[in-house]
Homo-oligomer: 258 residues x 2
């Protein structure tokens, strides 16, 4: 299964580098990944005793990490009833995608204007990973590589706020997908359609890039809302996707000497 790398999911929320990750940091990343991967299904409760036991921590830091995710919008806290994984239904899809479009197009503009060749090359590499994922015809891998490409594009712009919002948005896109549909479906032509993004970017065609991003995202939300005709071929998730469970988190690394 391919999804944004752990570094990508973990790095963005920090505005300043910490010398070592705290237990809360580690739990937060573990839970975010679990939501992204569908291990914690949308709408499901976070059973604190069970999850804390699985992760090998006490409930205190688990609650603290979960509160961060509540703030992130990935969990919802209801007093007396605990926390559960958020749901994003069809009613909120347009708003989600409007926000996503705002972040991606802003980042695209900043990236084109920055002229940062190394960052652009990173986006090209992310697209190569999408091409490789497409060869597997595994919907989850393709979907993950697709979101990774979008994330990389935003991160390449180098704006911490945009990157941070995008880190959350990709999980929320996953949540929305799981909420709206029991099936995990991606475009069969994901790799070639994204090639246009990379070409526009490499050509430093700001307006062209923004246009293709806009069309792509508008198309996605229309498809998820079932408003698009069926001219786009899609791939579905394999019937027997591997089951992934929560396990004990790694102990925080020893602090560096000195």
């Amino acid at each position: 299964m391919s999804h944004p790398s752990r570094a990508a999911l973990a790095a963005a929320p920090s505005f300043s580098r910490v010398a070592r990750p705290s237990t809360v940091d580690l739990i937060q990343n573990e839970l975010r990944n679990a939501v992204y991967a569908g291990v914690l299904p949308v709408g499901s409760p976070i059973r604190e005793v069970e999850v804390a036991t699985q992760l090998g921590v006490s409930r205190g830091p688990l609650r603290e990490a979960a509160q961060r995710l509540v703030q992130e919008g990935l969990l919802v806290a209801t007093p007396g009833r605990g926390m559960r994984v958020a749901t994003i239904g069809a009613d909120r899809l347009p708003a989600l995608y409007a926000a996503r479009k705002s972040v991606e197009t802003t980042a695209a503009r900043l990236l084109v204007r920055s002229g940062d060749d190394a960052a652009v090359a990173g986006v090209r590499r992310a697209h190569e990973e999408l091409v490789a994922a497409a060869a597997t015809e595994d919907a989850r891998q393709i979907g993950g590589a697709d979101l990774n490409l979008h994330w990389t594009l935003v991160a390449a712009a180098g704006n911490p706020w945009l990157t941070r919002w995008m880190t959350t948005l990709i999980v929320e896109v996953r949540i929305a997908t799981f909420t709206v549909s029991d099936e995990y479906v991606v475009r069969a032509d994901s790799a070639p359609s994204h090639a246009v993004i990379v070409e526009r970017l490499e050509a430093r065609d700001e307006e062209g890039l923004v246009q293709v991003l806009t069309e792509m995202l508008d198309g996605t939300v229309a498809r998820l809302l079932g408003r698009e005709d069926d001219a786009v071929e899609t791939l579905e998730e394999p019937a027997d996707a591997p089951e992934i469970t929560l396990g004990p988190i790694d102990a925080p690394d020893e602090p560096p000497i000195g």
Copy 2:
């Protein structure tokens, strides 16, 4: 002292209405307000025992609320050293304002396209409050009413993600102001310059509105970076601003019957 209403600061982070606020909700709002108002100065540590005592709660829920604010970017957590109020120095101002500009211009476009007269009227009312604040010549009141107008504009677009980001951004703008300068300074012509925003909005002039927002925000960041000429007259904070302290939080309301 005027700042976005408690409802504005408190309402936005929730994607779903909760029947009653939890202790963690209340503490979070109290702390966010304290950062916004400068009661918790930028860079200052959150002394858990002291703050919990002042708020009349135990350290557990205080830590949980603080973790939300860490995720929000308003506090920074360093393992072993606790949490402290974030700082946003001049190096990060351009990125902060790029993100702010993205959110505000996107919301402005959505609002104009929505044709929602009641929402537009709300922005007009927020401008009237700015006019009233300008009459006081109190920099804090003016600055608060200024940010409230911008927040109201974004919230009026009705996109939960944009509103939520903006709720945090206005606090971050305050943090940046406190970080970069020991003085609290606002434009003396805040009310008339913002009148143009309301006029463009009421005229449903999307491009004109986006342009004036862009120029305004670009001008602000230039001024904060000290790059702008001194042609813009400014007001400073009164020498003896009232001292506000943390106090016990209100007990959560009783749940509604039924």
